[in-house]
Symmetry: C2
Subunit: 204 residues, 2 copies
Amino acid sequence: MKAILLFSGGKDSSLVAHLLKTLNYDVKLVTANFGAVPDCWETAAEAAKILGFEHEVLEMNPEIILKAADMCEEDKKPRHAIDYVHRQVLEATAKKYPNHLIADGCRRDDVTPKIERNEAKSLEDRFGIEYFNPLGGISYKTINYLTESLFITENIRAGAKPTSEYETEIRAELRKRGGDALERGIFPDNHYHSIVLGWKHDQE
Amino acid sequence: MKAILLFSGGKDSSLVAHLLKTLNYDVKLVTANFGAVPDCWETAAEAAKILGFEHEVLEMNPEIILKAADMCEEDKKPRHAIDYVHRQVLEATAKKYPNHLIADGCRRDDVTPKIERNEAKSLEDRFGIEYFNPLGGISYKTINYLTESLFITENIRAGAKPTSEYETEIRAELRKRGGDALERGIFPDNHYHSIVLGWKHDQE
């Protein structure tokens, strides 16, 4: 059976890719791009290639990032904006791949993005998909243990270089509007995103 | 790393056992028994043996089933009682196995039992455990697809014969108090529990 996984190239979505593979799904990794930073899907594509999975760029409506930047400016923090973007990507993926398993790497212990059960059910009912979110029931300690045992990773200070996170494109739009000060006032400087550089052990 | 999994012998907890094995955990299956039906752990032990996992019976305080039966009589339905029993078993397992991964097969789409995130965090903080509940992020369709592809199962009409579900011991206590009528007034007649009889394909 075919599984479509939203993929940033980070360790969380890579762990879900590994889980799906061990469960014998035929896995396709999908990375959303909104055109605000046209090449920023490349880190995800590179990670997908290294891990040995099929990869696709999903071209999204650029207005989603504009609206996300509006939300950031209003809230002075990115939480709702990232939630909003993730929902739009899930919806677009479900629309493109009805009746497939659609997976993501949202964690139980992350504040955002978070898809509640009723939202998952709504997506499932409307598109015939099966939403697959195993990390929603797993603690950060377990995720860290598993990803450390599976993958070689690098931690990138958020904003230091373009990665395939939604954050990259939202920040680019905020910079355009109000420069570094606006961007830095909304996204905290002290957080990191992981990028998977390879398997720790040879895979069959 | 050692993983302790609450195990009823049914397809849900068997799927979690399989997941843990593919993630290279050293898995021990644990089945609670409260003494109300002293041998009802045997279906779980048999399934564990067939699947090739270590198994242990966790002897629980019999008063838990008395209190669960009280709750059933008061509510006229078993939901809160089963939630209560599951929490007691998780707590006892965490107390016995601090600093381990403690897993269960609670599903996203089941009303009960359900462990909320704040309860999971509390267990984790108090006992140093990692609560592992992957089926909390997986739809019933996916669980059915995976368990059907992995296991040979049998569906047992609830109450028809003793199985290792909490329901078996709660029903026994209710029968003692008010006979079949009381038991049947509380537990619906039209539901089934699965028992795993074997792997569909040979395992390595």
